[in-house]
């Protein structure tokens, strides 16, 4: 079965050119950061879930399910997991998800030890799953997520997609509604030969 499995998971055409191998290569970690990170992560997952891969969403409590549907994620293969926040238990949970699922979208807790992160990464590589790390967008009164600069988590991502919304269109003072946005996506990471920057117009 291991040999028959394709080396990479398919992604939708519009996000294909962002990735260095034009697909999600199994065993790798991709980080989607910035203000459009979560929706980019969802659109990366959509095609693979339609083709039968299961998606585990770990620790992203505030995921808008409706948005996931609109991105084309097939809901019957999406499972939401609420892991404990301590470092060890979190890594045990994520390892269990890696065992059964092809694709993971995870939000990393604040205090994850480097040891546990390495353990998860090793498991990911041996099980040939793909992990997409998104920012934790929890918004509280005291620490607004736009301002809080969190210390980086211990994972070493193979591909980093840093998003930045340039502008929204379809909305005007008092009329219309949010329709499209221009996002600049900077692609870097250790599997990317040369840092690139794309300007993409997206419906999300």
């Amino acid at each position: 079965m291991q040999l028959l499995a394709p080396e990479r998971l398919v992604v939708a055409d519009d996000v294909c050119k962002l990735l260095p191998d034009s697909g999600l290569v199994r065993g790798r970690i991709i980080r989607c950061s910035g203000d459009a990170g979560l929706s980019l992560a969802l659109s990366l997952c959509s095609r693979a879930t339609q083709q039968g891969s299961w998606l585990g969403v770990v620790g992203v409590a505030h995921l808008g399910v409706l948005a996931a549907v609109e991105h084309g994620v097939s809901l019957e293969r999406m499972v939401l997991v609420q892991p404990p926040n301590t470092s060890r238990e979190w890594s045990v949970t994520v390892s269990a998800v890696i065992d059964g699922f092809d694709l993971l979208v995870v939000a990393v807790p604040a205090r994850l030890s480097a040891n546990d992160a390495r353990r998860v990464q090793t498991r990911l590589q041996s099980r040939r799953a793909v992990m997409i790390i998104v920012d934790n967008m929890a918004l509280s009164r005291s620490t607004s997520r736009f301002s809080a600069e969190r210390e980086p988590d211990p994972f070493v991502a193979d591909v980093i997609l840093d998003t930045k919304t340039k502008s929204w269109s379809g909305i005007d003072n008092g009329s219309g509604y949010l329709q499209h946005r221009d996002v600049s996506i900077r692609v870097s990471g250790r599997r990317v030969a040369r840092q690139r920057e794309h300007l993409v117009t997206r419906r999300f």
Binding site: D35, A36, G37, L38, S39, L42, G52, S53, W54, G56, A61, H62, L63, G64, V65, L66, A67, A68, V69, E70, L75, E76, R77, M78, V79, L80, V81, Q82, P83, T93, A96, V97, D99, G100, F101, D102, M137, L139, S140, R141, S142, S144, F146, S147, K164, T165, S167, W168, I171, D172, N173, G174, S175, G176, Y177, L178, Q179, R181, R203, F204
Partner: protein, 534 residues
């Protein structure tokens, strides 16, 4: 294995509604996914039917009490009935709360015939049953026929006030079934309504018509479903009830050296046995569809129950059943012995891994992983989303525990793509970050005054600044206000709110502005951020 063909069904009509109702005569309906799935006799008198929309039911009967579907409540209430019947009939099979099936060969012979047996059971039940649940007993040669008979018996005894079981004569089941309408298949045999409606449009109105077509014709048109249809309508049983001892390899016993009082320890050992069991069967390409779980206490008391799943029992299903049985069994002393007996085993066809569609290897491993995660974190921490409908972002999808994944897989998954948007729902695209608990914010106009909305849904001024915590954001553009009024007729649950889409820019010292779009809501004259277009 000697199988008894003849079986009895004891049916408590509308069990979940009767259990949920506040008083015995109040109209009450149990609603799941906006549809009535069960209603009390009092509600039935108003014309409330199963399958009706919730709003329709409320229109027919304004006083109706609407209760959410809660399988645990039904199960625990049904335990008294199970216990009572179990005292008279040693081996019973509980398919679902409200329905008991057992082979009549032994009990009838012991109590002197089918009718005395049924009367005796009803007599015993009268003391234990929740008031006003209609009980019926039907005896026939197949589950479907016995089910219909039990329903008829319950309705008839309600009308006459005198209980009478409905007995279909031995070996006459297929004749008796022939004039029944095809609709009984959807009511009593889990055939979906679309299929029934198709049969009716094809001019097949009775089971006789279906039967007369011939099995091969039906199989050619409907595939496996056709074979099933033919089997049901000719009154054959797929898995017969067994009344004699099983072969030794289908038996798994664990004796505790010291009596165990902790339920968790017992459940753990059941889990071990169950996984060994299912592994043994899967190696042989078979699957266990019916299992007997028996517990024996230190002082010799026994609790024995039969569990049946036509699609095959997984290890987690066995453990779940054992838990149910243990919780219901009140025993003071510790347990000495646990026994699992595979009662009915068949070739594993339904779980065959398919090349195109159906269950694949990845589905299989994912289902296993879900089971393991639920064990690790508790089933409430592992969820999948199910469409439920609503205007609010949080309402449109309901998160349900993923351990029900098998039932959801079998449901039509492509339905959700055809679901239309609700009127008054937000325009697409939807925000990807939705907060369960909205965050309080301040939205001010250019004079620093808090923004308000008039009764005619007009903003007092254009929004200029959004303040979240200690950070302020400059509003670049905005849309709205969009009013939402829900359930204005209900003072307790009614909602009035106004939505506003905002595109904001963070005021920073850096030269690169940070733009974010959010959804603000004004409710009870307080602004909150409900979602972010992340």
């Amino acid at each position: 294995m000697l199988a008894s063909k003849r079986l009895a069904v004891l049916q408590c009509l509308d069990w979940s509604a009767v259990v949920a109702a506040k008083s015995s005569n109040s109209p009450c309906a149990v609603v799941h996914g906006q549809r009535v799935i069960s209603r009390t006799p009092a509600a039935m008198q108003y014309g409330v039917q199963v399958g009706m929309r919730r709003r329709h039911a409320q229109a027919l009967c304004p006083d109706i009490e609407i209760v959410a579907h809660e399988p645990n409540r039904d199960r625990s209430a049904f335990d008294t009935v199970i216990r009572t019947v179990n005292e008279l009939v040693p081996l019973i099979e509980v398919s679902e709360p409200g329905l008991i099936v057992f082979a009549v060969r032994g009990p009838s012979r012991y109590m002197g015939g089918d009718e005395p047996m049924a009367l005796k059971i009803i007599d015993a039940l009268k003391t234990s049953i929740v008031a006003n649940s209609l009980v019926g007993v039907g005896v026939a040669d197949s589950r479907l026929a016995a089910n219909i008979a039990a329903h008829a018996s319950a309705v008839a005894s309600n009308r006459s006030g005198l209980f009478a079981p409905y007995l279909v004569e031995p070996d006459k089941t297929s004749d008796w079934l022939a004039p029944q309408s095809v609709r009984v298949l959807s009511e009593f045999a889990n055939i979906n309504r679309e299929t029934i409606s198709l049969l009716e449009r094809l001019g097949l109105n009775t089971l006789h018509d279906v039967c007369a077509l011939g099995e091969s014709v039906l199989a050619g048109r409907f595939g496996e479903l056709g074979v099933e249809l033919h089997r049901l309508s000719r009154g054959d049983e797929q898995h017969q009830l067994v009344v004699v001892a099983p072969p030794p390899e289908h038996l798994c016993v664990e004796k505790f050296d010291e009596p165990v009082c902790d339920q968790q320890v017992v459940v753990n050992s059941v889990q071990r046995m169950a996984s060994a069991f299912t592994e043994y069967f899967s190696i042989h390409g078979t699957v266990c569809v019916r299992i007997i779980i028996a517990f024996e206490s230190e002082d010799g008391k026994r609790s024995e129950r039969l569990w049946y799943r036509p699609q095959g029992l997984t290890a987690s299903a066995i453990v779940e059943s054992a838990k149910w049985q243990l919780e219901a069994w009140l025993v003071a002393t510790g347990l000495a012995r646990v026994q699992l007996i595979a009662d009915e085993v068949r070739a594993d066809t339904a779980r065959q891994l398919k090349l195109w569609g159906g269950t694949t290897q990845t589905d299989e491993t994912a289902t296993q992983a879900i089971g393991r995660l639920s064990e690790l974190l508790g089933s409430s921490a592992v969820q999948i989303a199910k469409w439920q409908g609503g205007r609010d972002l949080l309402d449109s999808y309901e998160l349900v525990s993923a351990t029900h994944v098998q039932t959801i897989d079998s449901a039509n998954s492509d339905k959700q793509s055809t679901v239309a948007k609700w009127r008054g729902a937000l325009p697409t695209p939807s925000p990807s970050v939705v907060y369960n608990e909205p965050v309080q914010v301040q939205i001010n106009d250019q004079h620093g005054k808090l923004l308000s909305v008039s009764a005619r849904h007009e903003l007092s001024a254009s929004p200029v600044v959004v303040i979240i915590g200690t950070t302020s954001y400059k509003v670049i553009s905005w849309a709205g206000p969009w009013p939402v009024e829900e359930r204005w007729w209900d003072t307790a649950r009614g909602r009035r709110l106004v939505r506003l889409q905002l595109v904001c820019e963070k005021i920073t010292v850096e030269d690169t502005p940070q733009i974010s779009a959010m959804l603000a809501i004004l409710e009870h004259s307080e602004w909150t951020v409900a979602a972010i277009y992340g």
